[in-house]
């Protein structure tokens, strides 16, 4: 850290590292200097002049957003002159700004509105006609209302520097300046909405939220995005039990403000008209709506019957359900139904990684490592498309810390633009590509290695051996697909593993094996769609499906139970880096129940309630803390932030079954079965196809 220097602001003696910007040094000490164009983490602009302050011995006022503090500096931020400057700047910004706050989405949380309220003039001396430009729609997500734009260029920098997309620019000059999308009249970009949320005013608005509500009419519920495994916190705005927006402006969570299109807008699957709202039972070949009690009774009876006869069960869990639900489900399967035939669609080889790292601690990469470590090696994955947040972290690391980025992939990826070295390899040849980087990597001081399902089984061991041979500290991340794919493994939704990576001894049937078994008597699918691309061999098997939608799998079911989405339940999930975070219920769908409750109710039907214990997330979590190694983290800690679970420090000792590990490689606009029910994702995809 740079040397500390002493200076004063408003007579207060303060200290900050030399070179720190005055605006930051002030903020650190609780002194606010208003700003529009300045935005932490992005390049400096000094465009708006809102941050003018007086500095002794400098004849003119200075822009606090580009002025570094130095020893002995005497700064004043609240003098009459400064206030007058703020007032004038605001009057200037308002010359061409429409006074349409009452209908503007930003009204109530607009930085310009707030500043004018505090410092502005009640009247404008500008009486000429304002320049009007019609509102434009650039994509299903992004709308631009030029007259409201104060030309702070935050959006341009967020897209260029933050996203690495560079889809926005400024055209023309002076009062005629406009923000322009990359394709002239429309956008072709990640549709992440960063530009919209970072806009201090209502110039950029989103298709999802515009004209829906006023900010103060919503409740704000912080929960975890249910799409990819990066585990971004998304704060859902809920009005009348309906989610109307997602953002993370309070920068809570591992992701700060970042969200991709899925975390910010693809909550809409949860509000889809196709949500199931009543249990259904197959009668004469057709699914008919029945009451919950009838459906549960049918399942309880049938399960008991199969169990009594010693019939074969298959239980398939989800990549999206909570740790509590996963734990509860595997407990039910193993202890209640007496089967190890429980699994989920495996998406990345965490198991071998944990095994290969046995005997070490702290070697599983944390999310923050992608921002803090000096070098990052990406293997296989198109990180920007498949794991947008990890890519964003890496990009920020490159921008702020000049981190060295290496990419070994089959196709060109966005990471190439910042990569120290990019290596193109044929699929399957990734390790050879990595080997080619040996000298470069050994010259680094530390490294984060992140890999997708192109590295599994023995390749994971080879990769770890390679990493260990570099002689520098290396941490690893095995990418998985969805919000709780990691939690599914940790909680033992794995045929070979009990919770906490404990081998079961006798392995149960995997998903593929369950589907292929002719003698399967009952199949219970919780929040998964295995029949999307596969057939169920046992044509007479009794199939129970818990899902949000009538998926391919649900269509084959004998009993379908409508479940609550991730945004409609409490509990915890574990992201790809093993960090546990808390889900909070934002809304509800009539008729649906959480998977936890459903499992509990089935247990009750079968007289297994005493074995299973109460189906309260907190109670189940308490049991997880006690029994699952690594998860002994108090809930309040999970509530305030992500906590990495301490991984088991020993051999796992099972075959991770690389043949079963298949990532679906969802890109920006897809998200497995869930994505199909998201209007926003579909409209982006359709928009592109129609061009």
């Amino acid at each position: 850290m740079a040397d500390l220097v002493k200076f004063t602001i408003n007579g207060q003696e303060l200290e900050a590292p030399a070179g720190m910007l005055v605006i930051e040094a002030a903020k650190q000490n609780g002194i606010e200097i208003p700003s529009f164009c300045y935005y932490e983490g992005y390049s400096l602009q000094a465009a708006c002049r809102m941050c003018l302050v007086e500095v002794e011995k400098m004849p003119k006022m200075q822009v606090a957003c580009t002025l570094p503090v130095s020893a002995g500096m005497v700064i004043r931020t609240e003098t009459d002159q400064v206030k007058l400057a703020r007032k004038s700047t605001l009057e200037f910004l308002l010359t061409n700004h429409p006074l349409d706050c009452p209908v503007c989405d930003k009204g109530g949380e607009c930085e310009l509105q707030d500043m004018v309220f505090r410092y502005g003039a009640g009247e404008s001396r500008y009486t000429e006609t304002k320049i009007h430009v019609n509102e434009q729609q650039w994509s299903p997500v992004v709308f631009y209302d030029a007259p409201r734009c104060i030309l702070c260029f935050r959006c341009v920098r967020a897209c260029d520097e933050g996203m690495g997309v560079s889809a926005l620019g400024v055209i023309n000059r002076g009062a005629q300046s406009l923000i322009s999308p990359n394709m002239g009249d429309h956008l072709e970009c990640d549709e992440c909405g960063q530009c919209i949320d970072i806009c201090p005013v209502g110039a950029l608005t989103s298709g999802a939220y515009r004209y829906q509500t006023r900010p103060w009419e919503m409740e704000h519920v912080g929960t975890i995005c249910t799409h990819c495994s990066d585990g971004c916190k998304t704060t859902l705005g809920v009005r009348n039990d309906e989610i109307v927006r997602g953002n993370n402006r309070d920068r809570s969570g591992v992701n700060g403000e970042f969200l991709c299109i899925k975390g910010r807008y693809a909550f809409d699957f949860s509000e889809s008209a196709e949500r199931l709202q009543s249990p259904m039972i197959r009668v004469n070949g057709k699914l008919e709506e029945v009451s919950w009690s009838k459906a549960l009774e049918t399942i309880g009876k049938k399960f008991a019957e199969v169990k009594a006869k010693g019939g074969k069960f298959g239980v398939i869990g989800s990549n999206h359900t909570t740790n509590e639900e996963n734990y509860y489900l595997q407990k039910f399967a193993r202890q209640g139904l007496g089967t190890n035939n429980i699994d989920h669609q495996r998406t990345g080889d965490v198991v071998t990684l944990v095994d290969a790292l046995s005997g070490t601690t702290g070697r599983l990469a944390k999310t923050e490592d992608f921002y803090e470590r000096k070098a990052v090696l990406v293997i296989g994955a198109d990180l920007s498309a498949e794991h947008p947040f990890l890519a964003f972290q890496t990009r920020a690391n490159y921008r702020h810390h000049e981190a060295h980025v290496y990419a070994v992939t089959a196709e060109a990826v966005r990471e190439d633009n910042m990569a120290t070295r990019s290596v193109r390899v044929a699929k399957g040849e990734e390790l050879a590509g990595v080997e080619g980087l040996r000298d470069a990597l050994a010259a680094e001081t530390e490294l984060v290695v992140v890999f997708d399902d192109s590295i599994k089984g023995d390749k994971v061991r080879s990769l770890v051996a390679f990493g260990e041979s570099l002689g520098i500290p290396v941490s690893y991340c095995a990418l998985v697909d969805y919000s709780n794919s990691r939690g599914a493994i940790d909680m033992g939704l794995v045929a070979e593993l009990n919770p906490g990576f404990h081998a079961t001894g006798t392995a149960g049937a995997s998903v593929d094996e369950m589907l292929a078994a002719n003698d399967l008597a009952a199949l219970w699918v919780v929040g998964s769609n295995p029949l999307q691309n596969a057939k169920l061999a046992a044509s007479r098997a009794f199939v129970v499906v818990q899902d949000l939608f009538l998926t391919e799998t649900a269509q084959r079911a004998d009993v379908v139970l409508p479940t609550a989405s991730a945004y409609e339940k409490n509990g915890t999930v574990t992201n790809g880096c093993g960090e546990v975070q808390r889900l909070k219920r934002a809304s509800a769908t009539m008729g649906a129940k959480t998977d936890l409750e459903i499992i509990g109710l089935i247990a009750k039907e079968m007289g297994l309630a005493p074995l299973m214990g109460p189906w309260l997330p907190e109670t189940v979590y308490a049991e997880i803390r006690k029994t699952v190694k690594g998860y002994d983290i108090p809930l309040p800690l999970v509530t305030i932030g992500a906590q990495q679970t301490a991984p088991v420090n020993g051999r796992v000792g099972v075959d991770s079954r690389p043949d079963l590990i298949r990532s679906s490689h969802d890109k920006l606009f897809t998200s497995g079965t869930l994505g199909r029910y998201s209007t926003v994702l579909n409209s982006v995809i359709e928009g592109r196809q129609s061009r």
């Binding site: 560079s166 889809a167 926005l168 620019g169 400024v170 055209i171 023309n172 000059r173 322009s180 999308p181 990359n182």
Partner: protein, 173 residues
């Protein structure tokens, strides 16, 4: 897009002049010289320059829109620019501007019917010490009097080259 060998050579010089990761610095000079050859800055040219300088077409477009000397529409053979900013304004710049408009019968950013002369009212061109100033293509005329402007415009309209017009001398800079 193909350019004349001379222009290609110029481009190469510009690109070599800046560090490899600062190629974007060559955007402005490339556009300035290219537009002389292509008559105006077309979308095709924008994309070509973007490609060569490693930026997006939109980033080149930002530059084109910002600088008044970059033109998306073809100019007349002689592009007459009259400064009406403060220094020139104080010593007759505005009168010169009005005179030019009257004489040519065209206005700001317009071109005469025969395509010979186009007119533009410009901001300060850094010639304040010699105000009022007029610029024709890349040549400056200092301390311009109404009489000289008349001769200049008459000459250009009659098909003369600027250097063939008596009594009005460009300054070399």
């Amino acid at each position: 897009m193909t350019f004349s060998p001379e222009l290609e050579a110029r481009f190469e010089k510009f690109l070599a002049k800046y560090p490899a990761d600062r190629k974007r610095s060559a955007v402005i000079p490339m556009l300035v010289y290219a537009q002389d050859e292509t008559e105006a800055i077309t979308q095709e040219l924008i994309e070509e320059v973007a490609k060569r300088c490693g930026v997006t077409p939109l980033q080149v477009d930002e530059v084109v829109g910002f600088y008044s000397m970059l033109h998306k529409k073809p100019q007349g053979k002689y592009h007459v620019q009259v400064c009406t900013n403060i220094s020139c304004l104080l010593v007759g710049g505005e009168e010169l501007w009005n005179q030019a408009c009257h004489k040519l019968g065209i206005g700001h950013k317009q071109t005469s019917a025969d395509g010979r002369v186009s007119l533009e009212e410009v901001e300060c061109m850094g010639a304040c010490s010699w105000a009022p100033a007029v610029q024709v293509n890349y040549d400056f005329y200092h301390f311009v009097t109404p009489g000289q402007l008349d001769k200049l415009l008459d000459g250009l309209a009659a098909g003369k080259k600027p250097e063939e017009i008596a009594d009005v001398k460009k300054v070399s800079c």
